[in-house]
């Protein structure tokens, strides 16, 4: 006789319906990236067709497709994107880790204010401050440079990184450092050799989130990167030329763009869930 703790039916229906909503457009993204001009606009929309890779060719600027006026030829943008989002992620995670540790361990004056301030940076609408970043960057000589965008990407993730990392450090008992301190080691030694290895999962989770936001950052980059430092999302948005929107190319770019993020996410999936409690739940547990 089957054993039912709870009916599985309702959860299955909920997940089922949601997966259709989530996967339908994803499927359409992949299908459209493989369609040629005719298939793209066919009515009824076709589910089965001969795949055509010209969208992808245009993305990477390969072959004759590259000659098309609106072909992206994303190689430069790809390099920009990788450099900017990787550096930005590393910096945000590094600084967020340091600040998260300080906020977790030291009760310095204004700590709570800092935490709120750090979170509130995520609330700033890019358009509100863009003009002044523009001005500031041109004064600092950072206009349209990777360095400038790295700074921006670090900034938008720093608050979140600090919050998530603080949550992880809160989960590490302070005795760890105390024992080391009693044994004559410095706090820096304890931090680097004992505490950091214990929050590796947290660092991975934080990096995962920062990377998603860095990789997809559009609002700042589209204004601040005018030519040289253009990243992939910025470049893609310009695939709307006079000849109309290159749908296949945009979809292909979307597919190409999401792959590294998805792989990263899959690798760190079990840490992500831990990190997203921000250390808040720990308080209410008995």
């Amino acid at each position: 006789m089957p054993f039912h703790r709870q009916p599985i039916l309702i959860p299955a229906i909920v997940i089922g319906i949601y997966m259709i909503y989530a996967c339908g457009p994803l499927l359409w993204l992949v299908l459209s990236s493989l369609k040629d001009r005719q298939e793209l606009f066919s009515w009824p929309p076709s589910l089965f067709f001969t795949p055509d890779l010209s969208g992808y060719r245009m993305v990477f600027g390969i072959g004759e497709a590259a000659e098309t006026a609106t072909a992206l030829g994303l190689t430069d943008a790809l390099i920009n994107s990788v450099v900017i989002s990787v550096s930005g992620t590393v910096l945000a995670v590094a600084f967020g880790t340091l600040a998260g540790y300080a906020c977790s361990r030291f009760a310095f004056p204004g700590r709570d204010d800092f935490m709120f301030f750090a979170l509130s940076t995520r609330m700033i609408p890019p358009v509100a401050v863009l003009v002044f970043y523009h001005v500031m960057f041109s004064r600092l000589g950072l206009s349209d440079t990777r360095t400038g965008l790295i700074l921006v990407v670090t900034f938008i993730n720093l608050g979140l990184a600090t919050w998530i990392m603080k949550g992880f450090f809160d989960g590490v008992p302070e005795e760890i450092e105390n024992i080391a301190l009693v044994n004559g080691y410095t706090r820096l030694y304890a931090f680097w050799n004992l505490v950091l290895p214990m929050v590796r999962g947290g660092i991975a989770a934080t990096a995962g989130f920062c990377f998603i936001f860095a990789w997809n950052e559009f609002a700042f980059s589209t204004i601040l990167a005018t030519t040289q430092a253009k990243t992939l999302p910025v470049k893609i948005s310009s695939a709307t030329g006079a000849t109309g929107i290159e749908w296949a190319q945009i979809c292909a770019a979307g597919v190409v763009l999401v792959i590294p993020v998805a792989i990263f996410f899959w690798l760190i999936r079990k840490y992500l869930l831990m990190g997203m409690t921000f250390g808040v739940l720990g308080r209410s547990r008995t």
Binding site: V14, L29, M123, I124, P125, V127, M276
Partner: protein, 308 residues
């Protein structure tokens, strides 16, 4: 924990005098603080300053004239601006409510263990990882009234084709569907993390106490995960409030300017009309709203914490 705590050092290897905790705290905070202050303080001071000027960045030579609060009064007395706030409010309300109802329900369903759950979960997260601009174009493509797949499904159900993006009321819902598609995964992720944080014993105790799944959900699961759900709600609310990428890609603010959100309009004032002074005032208004909202939430959150 992998490393054992090493035994104490002998005096022979005495280290240089340890840096004090105070110094370490300062050193650790410094880079984050520096970047945040640099990136926030400069534009904020500028915002406040320029919001009192009649100034355009395109034409700095023309100079700037101090006009006090006129930028604010002009903006707030214009009906079209208020319409943007109303529209944004409708959008925020609709998309956040959809995301939360769907997200929390799906996260609760994902609490059940089954084969392939991790894979399914990761697939469910994918929309969030896509580039927002691609998401916008993808939905615009699917919502196309003539050859879009959405209308194909609509006709399959026996209805006529709908002009999704050309009619303001429809466009609102089209963007809500796209925004919820992209960001429900975020709610699922946070809600799942929150639900998993509830000790197994508690759930089992509730089952033994005779609680039905629904009773358990409303009396145990929800209240116990409230702190995180509040954070998620705040983040989603604010992100929805400043949403403009999707509108940019899907409707371009049209028809006319009927689907411009506050952030979209701000972008237009700042980068199409280049009324820098007025844009600054507009940005200040937006920030006041956002900071006000988040203060309310932080208050709620600390109240929650204090109950324990």
């Amino acid at each position: 924990m992998r490393q054992a705590i090493p035994a104490g050092r002998t005096a022979a290897h005495a280290v240089p005098r340890a840096i004090s905790d105070r110094t370490i705290c300062g050193l650790f905070m410094a880079p984050a603080l520096a970047i945040l202050l640099l990136m926030v303080a400069y534009p904020f001071i500028s915002l406040l300053y320029y919001s009192t000027l009649n100034f355009s960045i395109l034409n700095p030579a023309k100079g700037s004239e101090f006009i006090g609060l006129q930028n604010y009064t002009r903006l707030l007395s214009r009906e079209s601006v208020w319409e943007r706030f109303v529209f944004t409010g409708q959008f925020v309300l609709a998309t956040v409510v959809v995301q939360f109802c769907v997200g929390v329900a799906v996260a609760y369903a994902f609490q059940r263990n089954f084969k392939g759950r991790d894979l399914l979960f990761t697939i469910a997260m994918l929309p969030m990882m896509l580039c927002p601009i691609v998401v916008g174009f993808l939905w615009r493509y699917m919502f196309n009234s003539e050859w879009g797949v959405v209308n194909y499904l609509v006709t399959l159900l026996g209805f006529g084709k709908i002009d999704w993006l050309g009619v303001p009321g429809n466009a609102l819902w089209a963007v809500v569907i796209a925004d919820a598609w992209m960001w429900t995964p975020f709610v699922i992720l946070l809600a799942t993390a929150a639900f998993r944080g509830i000790p197994t014993d508690i759930n089992e105790a509730a089952e033994i106490d005779g609680a039905s799944p629904f009773f358990r959900f409303t009396r145990v699961t929800l209240p116990m995960s409230m702190p995180i759900l509040l954070i998620a709600f705040l983040l989603r609310l604010i992100d929805a409030f400043k949403q403009s990428d999707l509108f940019f890609a899907m409707t371009g603010g049209g028809p006319g300017s009927d689907t411009e959100t506050v952030a979209f309009r701000l972008g237009k004032i700042a980068f199409s009309h280049f009324y820098t002074g007025q844009a600054s005032a507009f940005a200040v208004i937006m920030l006041v709203i956002i900071i006000g909202l988040s203060l309310i939430f932080v208050r709620l959150l600390t109240q929650q914490g204090r109950q324990d």
